[in-house]
Symmetry: C2
Subunit: 419 residues, 2 copies
């Protein structure tokens, strides 16, 4: 992509009204644009990161048998009356009247759609288990949206739903999902600061699990057990003085943001929708369900909160909008020719590249923009580097740049492509 | 994909309350599920077709310089007041009140978001032209949803917006988009029945263009000029007795469904949002805009309406949920082994395959399901075919099946992969 054509403008000034680093950097670098409180547009750079996160999540969901589908934003109010969540979730539900006085709920989650849908395919134990997921726009009328993408009113969410004939099967799959979540967060570069954290399971299971990423911008408090390393959330901490896993009572308190959660719903939704199956013994039984969520935008925000310096974002390769940022200085024919060749070579190698071809910007401006945007590899081509038949390569996460002979670039390409 | 695991159930009976062939087949074959009037879930098969259509559209939008972004469903009501569309589009707009009495419009289209967004990046003529698009969920409170995916209240839409410094540039790009649309519809298999159709341009240009696909299920009437082959819509027909392109007055009347439209908006939206740029001559001028839409679900419906027989859907390869449908008969160890090998070989060749491994279904059931689902190539493996060291291959669009030696399958694979 030519940077001169990219739909964005970086800004030097701190964004007004921001209350987190990710909000500030993502806005200033042109990843997102706030339309109103808690509602954001994803600009091309931000959309690209979102797509990379989506790809990681999709791969891991498919690997554990998830089948992808797409459920609507518009949901019939009746279904929310049936589960009584019309009252329980009252504060955050968007309710809406359409033509013919039809009442809709804008889906903050999809149990009220997927459960009756499952009724059409589940009859016998032979139809179980199965797992469906979607990556879809959710709406939730947060009272106090804040911190950019960390607490919003509209967001892309991956929601997986599992259906089981018995508790053991649900328990086993729940652990399979937990493991997949671990892989996703690791791949996104926040594995070392993301804790599986015990939370209340409501009335249908003892615990659920949150995945909490440690960050000063987080609104949650979690307690990391000094002995076994798992987290417990505030609710559990207040109930238990000891860690439920190892009986230790020493914890470290940390601020964190919830990037995912997994929940054994049991019969919470199969009961109101009468979702049953005929078991091997000939008896009709209620299906057991699990649900598993990850917010893509919040994950994007959490990645930035975990990886930046004072100049800007430092993207992990796995989700970066481009892998290489090529900066052309001294707009002489010689430099342009070399830069254009490198740009094409990268594309041939299937390495995504943003090429700062802007001729009305100073070297300082280009360096600042590159640091703010945070692409993993920065390459500078200038009269000076060409005198050495070289380019200057710097990793965003490292201090020092190094000169690399143009003839040696194949080795660099290989390195970039490595996972 | 193993069919025994696929999240769907085919039904033999005609769907109740359907008023189009595509609605009936897509429902019975398990592509879509109606949640309520005009609102559908896309099941795994349908989601897969949707993704294939999305890929075709995305490729063609990127080829004409479109940069992808993602705008929100929730839009501030104020912006719709500013353009007065809060009144003009009153009948089909979903209006909504949230916490703090904040009023939202659920976006039926995104001019009210993309125009103010463009203000942040357009300053001078140097910033023009540019093109942004998204593939995103739209909401529109249709008074009479009907014909399955053809007229709905919630739908995936590709909307492209272009921004120009002068009319010539807009005019030129408009034709570039029209050409890309032609390529998209051709690739989707409806090129020969889809007509570029002159429609009213509103108050800002003489004409706009619709892309209309001929089908008995269509709600529009178009008039195809017997001389030059272009279409005009009813509105234009009533105004002109002759074809505006060739002055001919003989037309053929056809029922059709609108699968896309392109529109020169001129200053319709830049005026209320004061979207200006400084031209070469130093003067501030209003930006000229174009907008270009394709509804993905409707396109999916139109493809089915154009390609079926009495047994079911006949998907074009480009959008089919799978390329090969493997049917295993006589569940003997020998047949199973051969089927499983073919299943794996296809996957190795990157050929998408649905493997009907269900052991509780008759050959008749399997044949019926395969015809209904409409995957381009059907392969049968049975004791009988294996006696000849062969499999039976039939294209969904052709009458006759043929025996192919298992040793000759590589040639078949090559053929399947050809575009």
């Amino acid at each position: 992509m030519l940077q001169s054509k990219l739909f964005y403008k970086t800004t030097k000034n701190k964004t007004a009204g921001v209350d987190s680093i990710s909000h500030d950097f993502l806005t200033r670098a042109g990843y997102i644009d706030q339309l109103m409180a808690g509602v954001y547009s994803f600009l091309p750079l931000g959309f690209s990161v979102l797509k990379n996160i989506e790809k990681i999540i999709r791969k891991n969901m498919e690997e554990i048998g998830g089948q992808e589908l797409l459920l609507p934003v518009l949901q019939p109010k009746e279904n929310w009356v049936k589960t009584d969540r019309i009252n329980i979730e009252k504060e955050i539900i968007f309710l809406l009247k359409g033509n013919g006085y039809k009442e809709y709920v804008l889906g903050p989650t999809h149990e009220e759609v997927v459960t009756p849908l499952a009724k059409r395919v589940i009859f016998s134990y032979r139809d179980l288990p199965f797992y469906v997921f979607q990556i879809q726009d959710k709406l939730r009328d947060e009272l106090r949206p804040k911190s950019g993408l960390l607490r919003v009113r509209e967001f892309m969410m991956k929601d997986l739903y599992s259906f089981h004939a018995n508790q053991t099967d649900l328990d086993n799959y729940y652990e399979v999902v937990a493991k997949a979540y671990g892989k996703i967060f690791k791949k996104c570069g926040i594995g070392s600061v993301t804790y599986r954290t015990l939370a209340s399971g409501g009335s249908f299971s003892k615990y659920s699990d949150e995945f909490q990423t440690i960050t000063g911008a987080g609104e949650d408090l979690i307690y990391i057990c000094k002995k076994c390393g798992i987290g417990i959330n505030k609710e559990i901490k207040n109930e238990n003085l000891k860690c439920p896993k190892c009986n230790n009572s020493e914890f470290e308190e940390k601020k964190a943001v919830e990037v995912g959660n997994i929940f054994k719903m049991g019969t919470r939704f199969s009961l109101p929708f009468d979702l049953k199956f005929t078991d091997r013994d000939g008896h009709d039984k209620l299906v057991l369900m699990g649900c598993y969520g990850i917010g893509l935008g919040r994950l994007m925000g959490a990645i930035v909160e975990s990886s930046y310096d004072q100049k800007g974002i430092i993207w992990p390769k796995s989700v970066a909008p481009f892998l290489v940022h090529l900066l052309q200085f001294d707009n002489t024919p010689k430099v342009k020719k070399a830069a254009q060749k490198l740009y094409k070579d990268c594309q041939k190698e299937d390495i995504t590249i943003l090429y700062d071809d802007r001729e009305n910007k100073t070297a300082g401006d280009k360096f600042n923009d590159a640091d703010l945007i945070g692409i993993p590899y920065r390459i500078v081509i200038s009269e000076k580097t060409l005198k050495e038949n070289s380019v200057e390569i710097k990793e965003r996460s490292k201090e020092k740049a190094k000169l690399v002979k143009i003839t040696q670039l194949q080795k660099f390409f290989k390195n970039v492509k490595k996972n």
